[in-house]
């Protein structure tokens, strides 16, 4: 079972302290958006077999939402970072590229 370091309180939290929140960096579409855009916002998910960015809340800890870069095929964790960002930070991108040279990048 997963162990993720909460970037806010620093605790190496095991999965039972955490609540999962789905794919990270979704772009919200509201009124004025096309049907296609809105459908993609609600439903289209990358669901990669490999490097994935996802949301977690430290529900039984400090209560903060944070993001994690994790491989869905091996459960390797590339890092966790605060949720107040629209894309993964450079240091995490670099770490992923170093470990997964074939990775096509965050797009």
């Amino acid at each position: 079972m997963l162990l993720l370091i909460c970037p806010y309180c620093g605790v190496a939290a095991e999965e039972t302290e955490l609540a999962p929140g789905g794919e990270a960096h979704l772009k919200r579409f509201g009124p004025g958006s096309s049907d296609a855009e809105f459908e993609a916002y609600l439903f289209a998910r990358k669901n990669p077999k490999g490097v994935h960015f996802e949301r977690w809340r430290h529900a039984y800890g400090c209560g903060k939402w944070f993001l994690a870069a994790r491989c869905t095929a091996t459960l390797e964790v590339f890092g966790t970072y605060p949720a107040q960002t629209s894309g993964p930070p450079d240091d995490i991108i670099d770490r992923i590229k170093a470990r997964r040279p074939d990775w096509k990048g965050f797009a």
């Binding site: 079972m1 997963l2 999965e15 039972t16 609540a19 999962p20 789905g22 794919e23 049907d35 296609a36 809105f38 459908e39 993609a40 609600l42 439903f43 289209a44 998910r45 990358k46 669901n47 990669p48 077999k49 994935h52 996802e54 869905t72 095929a73 091996t74 459960l75």
Partner: protein, 415 residues
């Protein structure tokens, strides 16, 4: 295909069973087929079978990257029921259940369909109302269910504790002709029948790309070379997103771990299937005597076919409350699969943006019970290019329109 029977066994026994023929051929792929199905799990094989049986389409290949039936078909807890709430769900699951009734005879392969009855316990007033609603819906859908009393629950399942201190049983939704089947046998039975119809099941053959021209599919790239096809069916459950990407479209699907476990085998003590959705756990006893146990999905995207242990603990706590005698049984083996969950937890049987390419996925935790019905509907979609009434509601377009098929009341915990 040489028929199986007791007589055949007796005949072969004379020569120490040296004379049995292969259950299915393992040919090299031809350069092309009329239809290629990606995925030789239960759904993919059933699709191919009904293409041949119902539509006379037999120039078919079923491609499987591993060994046939090795995905969720070989990992589920074998429950068969059709007591769903929404019309489209009830229709396809009941079609499936009714096909299970005669599947052993149809395939000449004993899939051990056992209609011993499935009950879903109601342990809160909200659940009672939900199951009463389902009972009324089922009555109109032609699905035979009934809401039964706690006393009747106890009668049907004496080892069940109806007086738990936290969630006493208030009744249950009972489907007398739901039950279980032998999951591997379903895959093997369909595979044998497909092979006998001349269809090629090609294992250890991974699809690496989808080829198209003028917006229509023309073939697939595989680890065994290029295979041309007129029509393509994608039936790969947890890996649907990967194959869809090769075909150039996105799916509203996320792949998660679903776990199950068995106890050591014991003498028969439970004749029915029990699902306790309030506390998240369900159980039945296999013909070998093992208690077969499952619960809800893990919560994050996961392709490892293994899950996190706290979900097993939660399921076991729930079931020990429900069946106190379980406590001294021992867990023999636990495992996981990859279930593909859609936005409304209902499946997708649909045309795709790629012409002559069709997809069947999103069965989530409800796949095994759906195998025959799903194959039947998918075969019709592929054969005719348009969905039948069984499949029509499950199109991909429903998400854009907001036309959810929401089974929260009936689906409960994993099926």
């Amino acid at each position: 295909m040489k028929r199986y029977s007791l007589f055949a066994i007796a005949r072969e026994a004379l020569t120490h069973h040296q004379g049995w023929e292969r259950a299915w051929r393992s040919p090299a792929p031809k350069p092309g087929y009329d239809v290629v199905i990606i995925g030789a799990g239960g759904h993919g094989l059933a699709t191919a079978y009904y293409l041949g049986r119902n539509h006379g389409i037999r120039n078919v290949a079923i491609l499987e990257k591993g060994w046939l039936g090795g995905g969720n078909t070989g990992r589920n807890t074998t429950i068969i029921r059709s007591n769903y709430l929404q019309d489209p769900s009830a229709a396809i699951y009941e079609k499936s259940r009714s096909l299970y009734e005669t599947l052993s005879q149809d395939l000449n392969f004993n899939v051990m369909f056992s209609p011993r009855g499935v009950m879903m316990l109601a342990q809160t007033h909200h659940e009672v109302r939900g199951y009463l609603r389902t009972a009324h819906a089922n009555a109109l859908q032609g699905v035979v269910t009934e809401f039964i009393s706690p006393a009747r629950v106890k009668e049907l399942c004496p080892i069940l504790n109806i007086d738990g201190p936290r969630y006493p049983v208030l009744g249950a939704l009972w489907q007398p002709r739901g039950g279980t089947g032998r999951h591997d046998a379903v895959a093997w039975g369909y595979a044998r029948a497909c092979s006998a119809m001349g269809m090629d099941i090609i294992q250890q053959c991974e699809v690496t790309g989808v080829r198209s021209e003028n917006g229509k599919v023309t073939g697939v790239e595989t680890t065994k070379g290029h295979i041309g096809t007129g029509k393509l069916g994608i039936v790969v459950a947890g890996h649907s997103g990967q194959v869809a990407q090769m075909a150039g479209f996105r799916l509203p699907v996320e792949s998660m771990a679903l776990q199950a476990l068995v106890s050591e085998p014991i003498k028969p003590c439970m004749d029915v299937v029990v699902m306790a959705n309030t506390v998240h756990g369900y159980m039945s006893q296999s013909d070998k005597g093992e208690m077969v146990i499952g619960g809800g999905t893990d919560g994050f995207n996961n392709y490892t076919q293994r899950g996190s242990f706290q979900h097993i603990e939660e399921t076991l706590r729930a079931l020990i409350e429900t069946f106190p005698m379980l406590s001294r049984l021992k867990m023999l083996r636990q495992w996981g699969g990859i279930v593909d969950m859609t936005g409304d937890r209902s499946p997708i049987i649909s045309k795709t943006p790629l012409g002559n390419c069709f997809i069947n996925c999103g069965w989530g935790t409800g796949g095994f019970k759906a195998i025959p019905g799903s194959g039947w509907a998918m075969a019709e979609l592929i054969a005719k290019g348009e969905p039948s009434p069984l499949a029509a509601a499950f199109d991909m377009g429903r998400f854009r329109e907001g036309r959810f098929i929401d089974e929260s009341v009936a689906a409960g915990v994993a099926h």
